[in-house]
Point group: C2
Chain length 416, copies 2
C-alpha cells in the first residue's frame, strides 16, 4: 500500500501490506494471513496473523494484530448516516492515554494513522467478550480487582484531582466528541421517556414504555443525570463501558473500544459496568439449573458489583491520599463528599442504562436471548423495576449495599 493522505477503506491486501510495515511484530519473511472480522456497521476490523509450521489458527498464532478502521457512516438505527472519522482519533488517543496508566488492562497500540482513520493494536482473539462469558456463567475471580483498578486510575489521573488543571483543560479540548455523545444523549437520556421511533420494546411490555413516558418524578431524576452528562467535565471516560467492551479470561481483563471517550461524570463509566452485571444477574432466571445453583450465581454477580465499588473506592482514596495535585482538594470532608457523589452518580447512570437496554434501541443479548417469552417478559419487567429504583434513589444512596438490596428486592419481589 502506498502512503496516502486521502481516506479510503482498506481491502485485505492493503491490510496485509500495512501490517507487514509495523516494526517488531512479524518476521520479514513470514507468511501473513488476514481476515475481515468486523460487523461492517461502524468499522472494518482486520485480523492479520503469521502462519508458522506450528500454527495455522489465528487465535494460536503468537504473532497477530488487529487493524481497526473507522467507516465514514454508521448503521445504528437501520439506515446509514454519516459519522465522523474523528472517532478513530479519539479511540486511539484514549487507548494510548489508558495504556499509559493501566498498560495491562488495555490492548497495546502499535500505530494510529489519522489519514486512514485506523488503529493497529494487539489482537485479543484468545480472550472472550465478557458478555458472552457471563452468559456461559463463567467465573472471573480477578475481574472486580481489574476493573476497579482501570476505573480508579483512568478516572483519577484524568481529573483535576490527579492531573494539572491546565493540562486537563487541553485534554477536555482533545476529547470533545459531539457526534458520539449525541448517540448517548438520545438513546439513554431521551428516547426511553417518549414515543421515539428509535425505541425497541417487546410488545409484551408496552405498558412499561407508556409508564416511563408518564413518570414525571423519574424523568426529573433522568434530566438531572442528563444535565450532568452534558456539562460535567470531571474525568476522561471510556464512555461505553458495558460487558461487550471487555475482553476477558479468568486471569486477564482488557478494556476495548473507547470511541465514545470524552470528559464526563465518573459515575457514567462505573454505572455502565454495574448496570450490565445486574442485567446479567436478572437474566440468570432462565437458566435451566436448580434454583439454588441459580441463586448462587446471582449472588456471585451481585457480590462482584459490591466488590467493584468497594475496591474502586479504596483505590481511588489511596490515589487521592498519595497523588492529589490540587491543594484545595485536601480540605477536610471533601474526599468523603466527592466519593459519595460518585457513588450516587454511578447508581443513577446504572439505572438509566438498565432502562434503555430494555425499551431503547440497543438491547443486551443476556436478556434478548431468553427464548421463553414469559421468562423474558419477567426479566424485562424486573430490569425496569430495578432500573427505575436506582434512578429514583440515586441522590439518596450512601452505600453500595443499598444497591445490592434494591437488586435483591427487585428480583425477589417482582418475580415472586
Amino acid at each position: 500500500m502506498t502512503k496516502s493522505t486521502v481516506y479510503r477503506p482498506l481491502c485485505i491486501e492493503d491490510a496485509v501490506q500495512l501490517a507487514r510495515n509495523i516494526e517488531g511484530v512479524f518476521s520479514p519473511t513470514a507468511s501473513l494471513r488476514c481476515e475481515e472480522i468486523g460487523d461492517g456497521n461502524l468499522n472494518l476490523v482486520f485480523r492479520v496473523y503469521e502462519i508458522s509450521k506450528d500454527t495455522t489458527d489465528s487465535a494460536l498464532s503468537p504473532r497477530r494484530i488487529i487493524i481497526k478502521q473507522a467507516l465514514p457512516y454508521a448503521k445504528v438505527v437501520g439506515e446509514s448516516w454519516p459519522l465522523t472519522l474523528d472517532r478513530a482519533r479519539i479511540e486511539s488517543q484514549a487507548l494510548i492515554a489508558q495504556g499509559q496508566l493501566v498498560p495491562h488492562l488495555v490492548p497495546k497500540v502499535y500505530l494510529y494513522n489519522p489519514d486512514l482513520a485506523l488503529t493497529v493494536m494487539e489482537d485479543l482473539s484468545d480472550y472472550t467478550i465478557m458478555r458472552a462469558g457471563l452468559m456461559q456463567r463463567n467465573l472471573y475471580p480477578l475481574f472486580a480487582e481489574h476493573i476497579a483498578e482501570f476505573l480508579a486510575k483512568t478516572l483519577f489521573f484524568s481529573s483535576d484531582l490527579g492531573l494539572n488543571q491546565q493540562d486537563k483543560k487541553r485534554n477536555v479540548e482533545r476529547f470533545i466528541n459531539p457526534e458520539l455523545c449525541k448517540i448517548t444523549e438520545d438513546l439513554i437520556f431521551d428516547d426511553p421517556y417518549t414515543a421515539s421511533p428509535n425505541n425497541n420494546c417487546d410488545a409484551a411490555i408496552e405498558d412499561e414504555l407508556k409508564k416511563l413516558s408518564q413518570d414525571c418524578g423519574l424523568q426529573f431524576e433522568v434530566m438531572l443525570l442528563r444535565e450532568k452528562f452534558l456539562t460535567q467535565a470531571q474525568a476522561l471516560l471510556h464512555g461505553d463501558l458495558h460487558t461487550g467492551s471487555i475482553f476477558i479470561t479468568p486471569e486477564s481483563t482488557k478494556v476495548i473500544d473507547p470511541e465514545f471517550a470524552y470528559y464526563g461524570p465518573m459515575g457514567f463509566d462505573i454505572g455502565a459496568i454495574i448496570a450490565n452485571l445486574i442485567l446479567n444477574t436478572i437474566s440468570q432466571e432462565h437458566w435451566s439449573a436448580d434454583e439454588e445453583t441459580r441463586r448462587q450465581y446471582r449472588a456471585y454477580l451481585l457480590q462482584m458489583v459490591r466488590d467493584i465499588w468497594n475496591q474502586f473506592e479504596s483505590r481511588f482514596r489511596s490515589l487521592w491520599d498519595n497523588h492529589v495535585v490540587d491543594r484545595m482538594a485536601q480540605t477536610d470532608g471533601y474526599q468523603d463528599t466527592y466519593l459519595t457523589r460518585v457513588l450516587q452518580d454511578s447508581v443513577g447512570y446504572a439505572g438509566c442504562k438498565m432502562i434503555r437496554r430494555i425499551v431503547g434501541l440497543a438491547h443486551v443479548a443476556d436478556i434478548d436471548s431468553i427464548s421463553d417469552l414469559h421468562v423474558r417478559e419477567r426479566a424485562q419487567r424486573t430490569a425496569l423495576f430495578i432500573g427505575k429504583s436506582l434512578v429514583n434513589m440515586n441522590r439518596r444512596i450512601q452505600s453500595i449495599d443499598e444497591v445490592i438490596t434494591a437488586c435483591e428486592h427487585g428480583i425477589a419481589g417482582v418475580q415472586a
Copy 2:
C-alpha cells in the same frame, strides 16, 4: 502597515494605518489622531479618532475606534510572565458571540486579526467605567435591566438549554482557556485560604487572613465552588464580570473585556456583578454625607442587586419557556430546580469574590481608596463577614431576599 503574518506590538503609526484600512469608519481623506491609552500590563490599547473642524477631542469625535492588542506577557504579580496571545482570539470571539445575542450591550467589533492578536472595536470613551461611576455615587436606573438581559441571553443561548448540544460542545472546545482560568483558580479559589505570596492583605486585618486559612467549613464550601468552576461547562461566561468590565451611562451599558471567557457555571458571572455591587455598598460607609443619605444610596445598591437577580430569573424563565431546545428540559420541576441552583451558585461565587478582593492579590478601588484607615478596616471586615456568610449559606439559599438580609445584617452588625 504591510500585512504581516508574524506578531509584533504595534506602534502609533501602525495603529493609524490599520485604522485607515477599516471599511466604513473613517472618510478616506480624514485626519486621524491616535493615542495609546492602555496600562501596558496586559494589552496595548490605541484610540484612533478623526479630527474635524468641529472636534479635536477624542470623546467628541463622531468617528473613533479602539485597537486592543494583546501583549505576550502579563504583569499580574509584579513581574512579567508569558501569557498566551490566544486570549485575543477568545476575547474577540466572545465579543462577537455576545454581539449576536445582545448587540446593544457590547462594543461593536470591526476586525479581529489573529496574527497580530488584536481586535478593532467601537470606542466607548464617552462612557464611564461603572466602578468609577459608583464611587461617584451616580445613579444608573437602567443598569439592572441591561445586565439582566446580558446575563440571561448570553448564558441561556450558550447553554445546552438554548443551543443544540452538539454545537455547544464545539463551542466548549473553542473557548478552552487554561491560562486565564488558572489566574481565577489561584487568585479566587486558592490563595485567600493559605499563606500565598500572592495575597495582599492590609496589616490591620491579618487576623482575618489567618482565620480564613483555618476555617475548614468555609474551605469545604469554597472547594465545592472551585470544583464546579473546574468541571461544569454550563454556559459561555464572560469570566471577569466586575464593575471595572462595564462601560456605563445612565442610558446605556456596554460589557467589555471578555478575555477570561470560557464555559463554566452561570453563577460565576452573576456572582461577580453581585459581589462588586455589595463591595461598593459597603464602601459607602466612608462617604462624608449624613447617615440617612448614605443609607439611601446603600439601599439603592442593594435594591439593584435584588432587581438584577429577579429580572435575570424572569428573563431566563421566559427564554426557557419560548426557546428551549432540549426536549427533556421541559420535565416538570426542572426549571425551578435549575434556577435555584444558579441562584445558589451565584451567591457562593459572590462570596468568594468578596473575600478575594479584600485579602487576595487584586483589590477594588471602592474600598482601597478609603483614606481613613479605621473606616477602611471596618469596611474590609464587613466585606469579609458578608463574603463568608454568602459562601457558608450558598447551598441553602432559596431567594435573593436572603442575600439582601445577610448584607444588611453584615453592614449593621459588624459596623455597629
